[in-house]
Amino acid sequence: MAHAAQVGLQDATSPIMEELIIFHDHALMIIFLICFLVLYALFLTLTTKLTNTSISDAQEMETVWTILPAIILVLIALPSLRILYMTDEVNDPSFTIKSIGHQWYWTYEYTDYGGLIFNSYMLPPLFLEPGDLRLLDVDNRVVLPVEAPVRMMITSQDVLHSWAVPTLGLKTDAIPGRLNQTTFTATRPGVYYGQCSEICGANHSFMPIVLELIPLKIFEMGPVFTL
């Protein structure tokens, strides 16, 4: 989860998120250099003694400031498209879970093995145990295996919601009447938090998502099915 006043991305828990962090660093370096250039140009503008107001021709400069931004955009677009297509790769998921958004909780269905269905409500502040996270912890977590490709089918029963877990690089809209799919492979065990990311009413901020990722060996023993 994010720590207080965190601005940057959370550490990656999936290969896609690792790639997104790398791309983010790349884009940030380009942005830094552009900002540096613009600040320098501003400095020159503010400190020049030149007062020529009849400049009418600057072909070379106009060529440069047309071609250069195009090159910069290509440098940013190529890695971006690479990741975009990477997220759509079919990787033969071994496990499918349905996530249904409601106002204001999530329902999860584990239909691969029997018919386990449960709701996941945010823990109200009065019900928090010491060590629980306010506005983030839920009564029933989504328990999933590590290092196994998982398919999430996301939809909604009423209004728009969005199922997001930043550390996995996931954000998928839950749209009523539509089934959206996202896949991921977690690389390390732990408890990971997310929050609804599409405005959905009064308690939009109070329907978090909690994933508990456990080793595959332990997952196969069936702890998730003993609710």
């Binding site: 989860m1 720590h3 965190q6 940057g8 991305l9 959370q10 550490d11 790398i22 660093d25 790349h26 940030l28 370096m29 942005i31 830094f32 250099l33 900002c35 540096f36 250039l37 320098y40």
Partner: protein, 118 residues
């Protein structure tokens, strides 16, 4: 960015953010590129001034040199970093496979030794 480091993990360095957003300490290759860019900028700018004695133009050359050298170092370092990550991933997978298959009929070393003795 992350929680407090666990015992045995390397500590996250204190973040130094250029222009308020570029964390050069915790972004791989950033510090290396900025330092070499600064050196390139100083060399280019000062060298231009020595030859031409034009201050303003030398500053322009310095800034241009900074941008070009930083970008060049950045791409070079990131390319090597990506190659290193791929090699680490391959090594990790191979170690996992070796642990899983050693001594079994699926052991690739056994297959290789078998074919070379034939």
């Amino acid at each position: 960015m992350a929680a407090a480091p666990e015992p045995g993990e390397p500590e996250e360095r204190k973040s130094v953010k250029l222009l308020g957003f570029l964390d050069v300490e915790n972004t791989p290759c950033a510090r290396h590129s900025i330092l070499y860019g600064s050196l390139g900028s100083a060399v280019a700018g000062f060298g231009h001034f020595l030859f031409t004695s034009r201050i303003r133009r030398s500053c322009d050359v310095g800034v241009g040199g900074f941008i070009l050298v930083t970008l060049g170092c950045w791409f070079h370092c990131r390319y090597n970093y990506a190659k290193q990550r791929i090699q680490e991933r391959i090594a990790r997978e191979e170690i996992k496979k070796k642990i899983l298959y050693e001594g079994t009929h699926l052991d690739p070393e056994r297959k290789h030794n078998g074919s070379s003795s034939n």
